[in-house]
Point group: C2
Chain length 188, copies 2
């Protein structure tokens, strides 16, 4: 970074203080594992705590979810073996070697296999979250509709809509699918 | 909350530690004021620090932006007087009395008036952010396209698309506009 004194506070902060450690985390019904740059830092430091936690806890969960490259942690934990799953399409080549017994789905906004839900990158987590909440509470659930319309988000509801698999040239991506999707408020 | 011992850690945390206070914040080029429940807590406690900061700093900014009910803070600061602006459509009735000299736009995903950009609720901030970055760096900017496709978000690019103004029954909302919008990856 050179010899200049640089204030990187705006890039590296604010800090977010976790509520628990992996060791003292309480019993969980639903575990959601995010992805992102943090995962690479852990991998660089040979820190396996995320996948260890997933492996340890999976048996007691009702549901396990991942967003983006979080599915890499799930793959490393072994819980995706024999299952279908997906990941961030820009990081496809980086993620899939971590799961040789995983059926990686190239074109998918998110994938559901049993009680494991995995989504594509970043924003795809929002659409998977809506699908997951619909699964839990019912698509017509009024509170869910109110929440979605309160955050003014018109979700993508088709798990097959995944133009980013084409944008990122994922091998096996469905190049015939429409790149565009039309969305509207929940309940309308 | 009754007599039961309740662990609300999952709802009230994790804590997010700010990098500066209003008093020692550095010079700013762009100030973005979010909205949300925190604003109401401040109002309940007659804490005017957000609008005071906006009023103090506006003259030295290149751009002032707000998301959701953040425009209420901008209105209270007086910087929206004589300008067009919008806000979260679910909180419309709560926000607009704070700016009697503001031209509140009922159907708008976001509004631009001079160097002040105000968006509708929550998710609308994402679309306004893309529009703002397009404004700064150009719509065809490669880095911007890569960023949007990296986060796998297909933005709403029409500031007039605002079905939530209809959902939330905002007076003067454009009821004839299409509630749906078709989106695709940036650059495609």
């Amino acid at each position: 970074m050179g010899n200049d004194i640089m204030d990187l506070g705006h890039m590296l902060q604010p800090t977010i203080m976790a509520t628990h450690t992996f060791l003292n985390a309480p019993a969980l019904d639903v575990l959601l594992v995010p992805g992102g740059i943090g995962n690479r830092v852990l991998a660089d430091n040979k820190d396996t705590s995320v996948e260890d936690f997933v492996r340890l806890r999976y048996g007691q969960l009702d549901y396990l979810l991942s967003v983006c490259t979080g599915s890499m942690s799930l793959a490393k934990a072994g819980v995706l073996d024999g299952r279908r799953a997906t990941t961030n399409k820009g990081a496809w080549a980086e993620v899939i070697p971590n799961g040789n017994n995983v059926t990686w789905v190239p074109t998918a906004r998110w994938v559901v296999d049993g009680n494991i839900w995995t989504s594509s990158g970043v924003s795809a987590g929002m659409d998977m979250a809506y699908a997951f909440l619909s699964h839990l509470y019912g698509k017509g659930n009024e509170k869910l509709a109110k929440t979605m319309n309160g955050i003014e988000y018109a979700p993508h509801t088709d798990p097959h809509w995944d133009p980013f698999s084409v944008v990122h040239k994922v091998p096996g991506a469905d190049k015939n699918a429409d790149l565009s999707d039309c969305v509207k408020p929940v309940g309308y």
